[in-house]
């Protein structure tokens, strides 16, 4: 489980996160949602340690990341897998080399063992016979799946996904969402998904935090979000005219 307690973060005296607290449960897909500029990405970077928080705690199964030395932080980094918005695959490496990379840095496997593990991960995300292609030679959906394969190569305890569906068509987006959820259950990981895609919220939102102007404004699950009275959440969920009319008819 990852717990964040009273997180504050500001840049150049502009407050971005204000007293944000939340528990991301193990074995669930935890979603952080909110409008653009609400502080989702900054919150994620604070949780994974790319930004230091001004105040507050980030606890990885009780281990406070903020108070750790850089060397100790590395032990947590090795337990984290991350899927970036743009996949962030190394474009100078082939698909297979991308997945082997974390293994070559942090495991004592032989070359054959690493190749076997990479192939297992690629098969798990349904990538076949693409090992020798470069990321630029694959589609956006494939790149996301390869990035997931890379993220799970070291059997991480925590998986972060920053807008995993951006740039994907709705059908591929749902495939990626379901893959993330399946892997979360299969490996009993603590998964945090940053998104503003309502399809994702309704498909995999088991534990949701709604960030609004840098604050944890609302929390619940995919069932409660569609029936909440909160105006700000409703403005987000039912943003389009079509959805507003749909809700009126439902009511």
């Amino acid at each position: 489980m990852i717990e964040i307690r009273n997180i504050y973060k500001s840049f150049n005296e502009v407050s971005i996160l204000k007293d944000v607290s939340f528990k991301f449960d193990t074995g669930k897909t935890n979603l952080v949602i909110g409008q653009s500029g609400s502080g989702k990405s900054v919150l994620t970077k604070c949780i994974v340690g790319l930004h230091d928080v001004d105040d507050g705690q980030v606890l990885y199964d009780g281990r406070d990341m903020q108070s750790m030395s850089n060397r100790k932080r590395k032990t947590i980094f090795k337990e984290i897998g991350m899927l970036f918005q743009g996949s962030a695959l190394f474009d100078s490496m082939t698909v297979e080399e991308n997945v082997i990379f974390p293994l070559s840095m942090f495991s004592n496997m032989t070359k054959d063992e690493m190749r076997d593990r990479a192939n297992f991960c690629l098969k798990r995300v349904e990538i076949f016979d693409k090992n020798n292609l470069y990321p630029s030679e694959t589609s956006g959906g494939m790149q996301k799946r390869i990035a997931i394969a890379r993220a799970i190569a070291l059997n991480p305890r925590y998986l972060f996904c920053d807008e995993p569906n951006s740039g994907l068509d709705p059908k591929t987006a749902i495939v990626i969402d379901n893959l993330i959820q399946d892997i979360t259950k299969e490996y009993n990981m603590t998964t945090v998904v940053i998104t503003h895609d309502m399809n994702s919220v309704l498909e995999i939102g088991e534990n949701i935090m709604f960030l609004y102007e840098g604050e944890n404004y609302w929390q619940g699950d995919r069932k409660s979000i569609v029936s909440t009275d909160s105006k700000e959440v409703n403005d987000f969920v039912y943003a389009s005219k079509f959805m507003q009319d749909f809700k009126k008819r439902m009511v």
Binding site: G49, D91, M105
Partner: protein, 247 residues
């Protein structure tokens, strides 16, 4: 950001880069890759520039010697001094600051804006050590070889044009090359070269590594990398010349 802040950020980058690699085997492979990428791939352009500059230096020197009192071998002597002391180490380094510097800066800048550097950091990899140090060490290793290669080609180009145009005989040119030769001049050129390699790789890495924004900023960072590398090379060239050649 002020100049002093940039110096501080540059120093911090170097501090992060010069640390113990996460895995020596991977680090060694990265160094070899950088030797190939930054050095061997520059050989073609260095070949062309050196040959032609050697030819031009020889023709210019010969055409400016009018007096019969000045011996013919002076052409070879002047070509050697020009090529060994300044043209190959300094001018070729300035040209490589443009070619290699912009390559390093745009490579790291692209990695930054596409979050590849963040991905390395989150994996627990020291990205400065993994990305920057192999470039610095690899280029410091290969540039002296490139410069020696350039010297040989430049002198060869001078000999070819001297023979072809008949402005100097082969014997005079070769005598001029050997005349009053001090091995220290090669040492001086190579000392400069190693320093220039460090400047080119580290300054360009700095501008690429800290890019913020998108592709436009990557382009701007490449330009700044070339400008500041060139300025630093010229300054260090003056400093080293003053220190090593003036008693």
């Amino acid at each position: 950001m002020t100049f002093i802040q940039r110096i501080g950020e540059y120093s911090l980058m170097l501090g992060g880069a010069f640390s113990r690699p996460d895995k020596l085997k991977v680090f060694w492979k990265r160094c070899v890759d950088e030797v190939m990428n930054l050095g061997v791939n520059s050989m073609g352009i260095v070949f062309i520039i050196s040959i032609f500059m050697g030819m031009v230096i020889t023709i210019q020197t010969a055409s400016n010697i009018d007096s019969e009192l000045i011996p013919k071998y002076t052409v070879g002597f002047t070509a050697r001094q020009t090529i060994v002391l300044e043209f190959s180490p300094t001018i070729i380094s300035l040209i490589l600051a443009g070619i290699v510097g912009s390559r390093i800066s745009s490579e790291l800048g692209s990695m930054r804006v596409t979050e590849q550097i963040d991905a390395l950091e989150i994996m627990g990899v020291n990205s400065k050590n993994y990305l920057v140090l192999p470039k610095i060490l690899g280029f410091m290793f290969i540039l002296p070889f490139i410069i020696i290669y350039s010297m040989v080609l430049g002198l060869f180009g001078g000999w070819v044009v001297g023979m072809a145009s008949g402005i100097i005989s082969s014997a005079d040119y070769i005598y001029g090359l050997q005349y009053w030769f001090e091995p220290f001049s090669i040492f001086y050129a190579l000392i400069k070269t190693v320093l220039f390699a460090f400047i080119i790789a580290s300054v360009s890495s700095y501008y690429g590594y800290y890019v913020k924004g998108g592709s436009l900023e990557v382009g701007k960072a490449s330009t700044k990398a070339v400008i500041w590398s060139s300025i630093a090379i010229l300054f260090v060239n003056y400093l080293v010349t003053q220190l090593l050649l003036i008693d």
